[in-house]
Symmetry: C2
Subunit: 261 residues, 2 copies
């Protein structure tokens, strides 16, 4: 006689849904020395999440060739997509191209299409060494052109080389983003006026039942509206809905002040 | 006969000045998923620079034990100071203490002083498992108490464990900061209305003469006041002053719109 198995609330995304794992390498002494606040990684984090891409790591490193090389190589080998930000330009501290080339074991070459763009930009004047530095790419790199951007984006294997200037980084990413879209994340948010040490047991219970749920608990101090924000996420919409219903059942009566998603 | 050697404009800090190399490990899915903007690393970067501490790396990683362990171990071994931000608290996703303990090859224990603090806070009520989680430390950790903070800061070897909530992280860091002060950096800033490809040659010349200068070049777009900001820095005040004078001589007449420092 066949036994009827109990329903196991397992997310299906691990087997059937597409996942892309990404990393961001921010290259810039100005961020490590506290002169500039990095806004590029927060922008990319939001955009990637909306596309369904899973961001696994952000690293901010100095303008030092060995460190760029080692970090980019590690990201290149362990992740599906790598975005670099900063260190591209005509001056001495712009060494990202060389760092990426070394990470991939390639030479740096002057790309004829970029050189032509620079000649066009200079309108007949002879380019100097600083201008020509802007035409450098790791050998074998692809140029991704788009009508929305002035200068093509350089792609070497799974590495997209983006500038540090936020306005240009954003333009370039928005021109690329369609190519990264995968199955989206589904998010529900619960705002409660209860404290974490009271809620913790219910979160643990929910995770026992829904072990693949992405569940976050974020206390906020000095906020009159709520004390803890709970985020429930999965690429499986039904799974997150069921986990949400389960947790809502467990939470103390009256402690939920707002729901989103 | 002794030859008179030419004066070599070498910075003296490498031999005589104290350097402390620091890293920040930010632990938080909420930042990687774009739900929260990390302000802690920018705060710490500014504060550390003011103290003369050299920040070498910032890394944002997910709430995953193996990744926390590996990252913290790497930072612990290669840097003088490590600050972690996030992942401390009473819920399932608060696993920084265990990650740090594993990185150091230690057990997690309940610290009697923290347990007493929790009993005091609960005013006679029996602590639950979530409360007791807040008393966990890597075995052998120090507790750093200060009248300006409510709960002591946990220090394990060269690792300072800070919370993710910005207000508390800031309080805790400000209560600690005096212990990190070393020889300060000296900074001069030049704002120019010239473009980088014209200035680059002068920056390269300055670096040939002053190879230990920390020299940054940061273009800004859409700014009516200036086009490129140049930062000159060293722990040797005289060295940066001389490098500054050298560069000012080289820059095209009239291109400097503002000076700071």
């Amino acid at each position: 006689m066949r036994k009827i198995l109990p329903e196991v609330p397992k997310a299906v995304y691990s087997a059937t849904m597409r996942e892309l794992r990404a990393g961001i390498v921010v290259i810039g002494n100005e961020i490590l020395s506290g002169k500039t606040v990095d806004s590029n990684s927060a922008f990319l984090a939001r955009e990637l999440r909306q596309l369904g891409v899973t961001l696994k790591r952000i690293t901010v490193i100095p303008d030092e060739l060995d460190i760029i090389e080692d970090t980019v190589r590690d990201f290149h080998r362990t992740l599906d997509l790598v975005f670099t930000s900063g260190g591209v330009g005509p001056t001495h501290d712009d060494i990202t191209i060389e760092g990426v080339a070394r990470a991939l074991g390639r030479r740096v070459i002057i790309h004829p299409l970029l050189e032509a763009k620079i000649h066009e930009y200079l309108n007949g004047k002879t380019p100097n060494a600083a201008h020509l530095k802007m035409a450098e790419v790791p050998e074998g790199a692809e140029l991704l052109s788009d009508e929305r951007i002035r200068f093509p984006t350089i792609k070497a294997e799974n590495i997209y080389i983006l500038p540090g200037i936020p306005e240009i980084l954003q333009q370039k990413f928005l021109a690329l983003k369609e190519r990264f879209a995968v199955d989206p994340y589904h998010l529900k948010v619960i705002y409660t006026n209860e404290i974490e040490s009271v809620i913790a047991v219910h979160l643990n219970d929910t995770l026992r039942e829904y072990p693949e749920l992405l569940l976050g608990s974020y206390p906020k101090i000095g906020n009159s509206e709520y004390r803890v924000k709970l985020t429930l996420e999965s690429k499986d919409k039904d799974y997150v809905e069921r986990a949400f219903a389960h947790l809502m059942e467990l939470l103390p009566t009256g402690c939920v002040v707002k729901i989103e998603g």
